[in-house]
């Protein structure tokens, strides 16, 4: 299937990926049968690298991230095959107890909606303290100091008072900062951010992204950022993986992807973007709709919407091929 040999993370200097996802398949069980919502997904994240996972809603970005964290709502959703390699272990095989040790301490995750993602009946400090003391041998006072420090570091005003606030007493942007602080307090090696700015005001979005970027650089942390916003991708990513209907269709360094996209879907996404330098150029939407998971075409999942589909595209599934750090899943790539 996908030839993984010679795969290198482009950004990291020593090249050894921190996290390696290999041929991940995640399926949802329905009364009509089991369907892959994530199919044959492979990617690496290098040290100190920001990988953006882009795609439309429902394309499997979040499920991929939740698979890595082993936070899938099982049942009905579960990993059916593949490997998630982290620090010499396959996370898909670890017992729940050992996965818990990885969460927050080594791989953290923040979520889309800060309004519903914080426990409403506990204070910010109570939850942060519990997270710290679950993983570390810290006194309550030490945990409090750690929490206040990180709350200050992520730019939360009056962090000492906020430590004792309930989530409903904070604004959306403040809540997202609290979630980021909780995710970073144990200094993890990887941060997974699932649409961290989607639910926020535009001005707050920029601040939060900026904060994520600077924390990532200061801590030399790797980041998997999930978004559907190509502007976010352009501003923060080192590398980009484009997902369509549960598969990664193209993966490349960010400049490469924006200047020279090869997959017709990626090209379609970029043509649908307004661009300052190309005034009055009409935006071109991608024709058609994502097929429902019960009706995935047998060949390339994008074939029904692809302007360049060959006969082969309708019958065979294109493999994920990697060449010089650029991954592509297409029989008929086109110049942009």
């Amino acid at each position: 299937m996908s030839p993984d040999g010679g795969r290198v993370a482009t950004n990291g200097s020593n090249g050894r990926p921190v996290l390696s996802v290999r041929q991940l398949h995640t399926a949802v069980a329905t009364p009509e049968g089991s369907f892959d919502v994530v199919r044959d997904v492979s990617f690496d994240i290098g040290p100190n690298e920001v990988l953006c996972l882009v795609g439309e809603s429902g394309c499997g970005k979040t499920i991929t991230a939740l698979s890595v964290m082993r936070l899938l709502p099982t049942p009905p959703v579960r990993i059916t095959s593949g490997e998630i390699l982290f620090d010499g272990n396959d996370l898909t095989q670890l017992p729940e107890r050992r996965v818990r040790d990885v969460r927050a301490e080594r791989i953290s995750m923040i979520f889309q909606d800060p309004l519903t993602s914080l426990d409403p009946v506990f204070t910010v400090g109570q939850v942060m303290t519990e997270v710290i003391r679950t993983h570390r041998d810290a006194t309550k006072a030490e945990a409090r100091d750690m929490s206040v420090d990180i709350l200050r570091a992520v730019g939360l005003p009056a962090p000492t008072e906020r430590f004792d606030s309930y989530p409903h007493e904070l604004s959306g942007g403040m809540r997202q900062r609290v979630m980021i602080a909780t995710a970073l307090v144990l200094d993890p090696e990887i941060l997974i951010a699932d649409e961290p700015t989607t639910a926020l005001d535009v001005t707050v979005q920029a601040q939060i992204l900026e904060r994520l970027r600077s924390e990532q650089q200061e801590r030399a942390m790797s980041m998997l950022l999930i978004t559907h916003d190509l502007a976010v991708v352009a501003s923060i990513a080192d590398r980009v993986a484009v997902m369509y209907a549960g598969e990664i269709v193209e993966e490349a360094p960010v400049d490469e992807l924006f200047s020279n996209p090869r997959h017709p879907y990626t090209q379609g996404l970029l043509r649908a973007l307004p661009h300052a330098s190309r005034k009055r150029r009409e935006l071109v939407p991608i024709a058609g709709l994502v097929p429902p998971m019960q009706m995935m075409p047998p060949g390339c999942r994008f074939a029904p919407r692809c302007p360049h589909a060959l006969e082969q595209c309708w019958t065979d599934q294109p493999p994920h091929e990697v060449e010089a750090g650029v991954g592509l899943r297409c029989f008929n790539p086109q110049p942009f």
Binding site: L71, R103, M109, T116, D119, P120
Partner: protein, 305 residues
């Protein structure tokens, strides 16, 4: 705070209105205490004189104001039928009712909440099925019938527990369980659905991402969230227990306020019936007020609003 203050005023109004309602209702039901107090051979004149003495021939609103006036000076009066001091009746029978009611109230939560958690955590298992079947039965069976059934089974047939009386622990078990049953059933259902609802919330995923143990997530975070509606409605359970106490105390011969009230109404013992009706109404109204306060206390989102 404003919410609580508004609620307190409302509580007072309800108490006032119900005192009027009770006063009139018991006089509308016909008959009076005279036949209970005087022998059957008493002449018409004697009966009229007795009524005059007690002020029962005065217009009802005059009787009402006179009664309320005395009530406000804490003069509760005496029973018309046996001249017993009403304040003494209150302390004596009130204590018995308090024991029974507190036992039932405790059972509602000590049994209801853990069963509800069990059903939620083991959703769709046989344990969930049995708990929910028990809960449906607990709500469907009227408690007077449950009382009779339990007397038949545990007292008459098995001989494990006494069928009636007061006030040993053994005598307390049957009436307390019967009195608590509907509350237990409701609490089980509420706990289960509140737990399941909160288990599906986004914040649970965030806590899992923080590496917290399932025990802490379910037993601390989800439970605390699920307790918001249950604590809020704890006050309503008190009201329910007070209402059912009339029936249960009578069946089990438990000498509490409920039994006193039932007897007083049957004998048209106005001062006793009025006073104890008011006491029970006050408890129900207060428990509703408590439910409101409880909601504010249990839910930090309302505290500073």
């Amino acid at each position: 705070m404003k919410r609580i203050a508004a609620r307190s005023v409302y509580t007072l109004i309800v108490l006032l209105l119900s005192s009027i309602a009770v006063f009139y209702a018991i006089r509308l039901s016909g008959g009076d205490a005279v036949s209970a107090r005087l022998p059957a051979s008493a002449s018409y004149e004697d009966r009229e004189e007795f009524r005059e003495l007690l002020g029962l021939n005065d217009p009802v609103h005059e009787q009402y104001f006179r009664y309320m006036g005395r009530l406000l000076t804490f003069d509760l009066g005496k029973s018309l039928t046996n001249n017993a001091d009403i304040f003494e009746m209150l302390t004596h029978h009130g204590k018995n009712s308090l024991i029974l009611g507190a036992a039932a109230f405790l059972l509602v939560f000590v049994i209801g909440v853990p069963l509800g958690i069990l059903a939620a955590v083991r959703r769709n298992s046989w344990a969930d099925g049995s708990v929910m079947t028990f809960s449906v039965a607990g709500m469907a069976v009227p408690n007077f019938w449950l009382a009779l059934l339990s007397v038949w089974l545990f007292a008459s047939t098995l001989g494990w527990l006494p069928s009636a009386g007061c006030c040993s622990l053994k005598q307390l078990i049957l009436p307390a369980v019967v009195l608590a049953m509907e509350g237990i059933a409701l609490t089980v259902r509420m706990t289960r659905s509140a737990m399941l609802e909160n288990l599906g919330q986004d914040f649970v995923r965030t806590l899992r991402a923080g590496g917290l143990s399932e025990a802490s997530i379910v037993g601390k975070h989800v439970l605390r969230n699920a307790m918001v509606p249950i604590i809020s409605l704890a006050g309503l359970r008190i009201g329910q227990i007070v209402g059912y106490a009339l029936v249960v105390e009578t069946i089990f011969g438990w000498p509490g306020l409920g039994q006193v009230l039932v007897n007083a109404v049957l004998r048209r013992d106005y001062p006793v019936a009025q006073f104890f009706s008011l006491v029970l109404i006050a408890i129900v109204v207060l428990s509703n007020w408590l439910a409101d306060v409880g909601y504010t206390v249990a839910n930090p989102r309302l505290r500073k609003a």
